[in-house]
Symmetry: C2
Subunit: 122 residues, 2 copies
């Protein structure tokens, strides 16, 4: 591939997410070192607390959300950059009235996603 129009790329529902879809814009088969994906979370959508065995570099394209990383919670919006190290628990909640969309780049390594139980109240 040289060029793709992202609107032409298949949109796939994420079973473990709520109102969350993903597009693989550049796959592990198309590039030697890392894959580029776009996530789209509808208003009210998000992803539960989970870990991945690969790190994430992310860039927010539109919307706003609450993002949990380890024990911290951040409010993020368009133009924000997020780094999640491998194996660190994280979650997302769209807190706006528009879609929350972000790019997520991961290395071309095996990625195991583990959904975690809700955190116990203090």
């Amino acid at each position: 591939m040289a060029i793709k129009h992202s609107q032409d790329v298949e949109v796939v529902q994420i079973p473990s997410g709520v109102k969350t879809t993903r597009q693989v814009l550049i796959s592990a088969q198309e590039a030697p070192n890392f894959a580029l994906r776009r996530f789209i979370m509808e208003p009210g959508g998000g992803m539960p607390r989970h870990t991945n065995t690969v790190e994430h570099e992310q860039y927010v394209l539109t919307g706003q959300a609450r993002v949990g990383i380890a024990n911290d919670v951040f409010e993020v919006k368009k133009g924000d950059v997020v780094f999640i190290p491998e194996n660190v628990p994280h979650w997302y909640q769209n807190t706006g009235n528009e879609t929350f969309e972000f790019l997520c780049i991961v290395p071309n390594k095996p990625d195991v996603t583990t959904i975690l139980p809700d955190e116990l109240p203090c």
Copy 2:
């Protein structure tokens, strides 16, 4: 780092470019496998034909441009995805009236940029 606001990140002029600046959003020192950068080309700006020793995965954030990759020329706009293999000649020309901005992800490997002479007329 966990979160950055991209408007807080230093903007650096690219000497070999025309009206072109770059922000390193996630540096090679901040992440284990790849770096995330944002390029901003003002109207009339661009980058001459050159090669890099690392591949580029790119996502157009805003604006429109003409992009040359090897012997092909593409018109790209917001939402388009670009892949440039390592050592393949490429160039950019902002063809719009607004800034042309794109993300560019590169592996954490030594990158040598070589500016190429203009192509000879056929």
